[in-house]
């Protein structure tokens, strides 16, 4: 599979994980998109250096062609999938850890340290 095809597949996969598997619904939240706007700015900067200085070199046959700040546009999809998967997983882990369990119905007898 080409880089382009994998990148599109990754975005679809991550949306399914966020909306259906974890149900963290990060992509529906304002806090996510503002954070993502900050992250993507730094991504373009870092990606620009990595590809501009030829730290990473792409095979032209595996990408669509258009580039943003030296990097193939596919990198935006790659980055979006990577960041969204991370933040959705972080939300899922914290939702589990920070939600107070009901007293008496708690199968975990260790005293909750979140309160």
């Amino acid at each position: 599979m080409s880089y382009s095809a994998l990148a599109v597949l990754a975005v679809v996969g991550v949306l399914v994980v966020d909306l259906v598997v974890y149900r963290t619904r990060m992509v529906t939240r304002r806090v996510f998109w503002v954070a993502y706007a900050i992250i993507v700015t730094f991504q373009l900067l870092m990606n620009g250096v990595l590809t501009g200085l030829d730290v990473v070199v792409y095979d032209p046959g595996t990408i669509w062609g258009p580039r943003i700040a030296y990097a193939p546009v596919e990198d935006l999809l790659f980055g979006f999938a990577m960041v969204t998967l991370t933040l959705a997983s972080w939300a899922a882990v914290n939702r589990r850890a920070n939600t107070p369990r009901r007293r008496g119905f708690d199968t975990d007898t260790r005293r909750s340290s979140t309160r």
Binding site: Y3, R29, V31, A35, F42, T86, V93, N98, S113, T114
Partner: protein, 116 residues
């Protein structure tokens, strides 16, 4: 010095985001165990992706702008660190926006001292 290009960028990411933990006190490093758990799916999937991409020749890495330490599959050690550093910085950014704005992120806010 050239060989430190990629590693230097990663170090830069950590330096730039450090004030979020040290000054804004978002408590992401403080919750390092949760962070490790949260990074596992991303790390496994994207490292596999890179190994496939290297194998298929989708992209390659400079020998002069990296340390030159290659792990099995030909992945540079910096690229492994990338999939740990970038998620860490992303979580720092999310927690910073959340702390400053108070917007809902879908899970209860962490309270000081509860980091596990």
């Amino acid at each position: 010095m050239q060989q430190l290009t990629y590693l230097g960028l990663l170090a830069g990411c950590l330096v730039v985001t450090a004030p979020l933990e040290l000054v804004l006190r978002v408590r992401v490093y403080a919750r390092w165990r949760r962070l490790l758990v949260a990074v596992v799916p991303e790390f496994v999937i994207f490292v596999c992706w890179v190994l496939y991409a290297i194998d298929q020749g989708h992209w390659s890495y400079s020998g002069t702008r990296t340390l030159g330490i290659r792990l099995p599959g030909g992945i540079p050690v910096e690229e492994i660190l990338f999939f740990l550093v970038v998620p860490l910085c992303s979580v720092l950014a999310l927690e910073a926006v959340r702390k400053v704005t108070g917007w809902n992120a879908g899970y209860p806010a962490d309270q000081a001292g509860s980091g596990r």
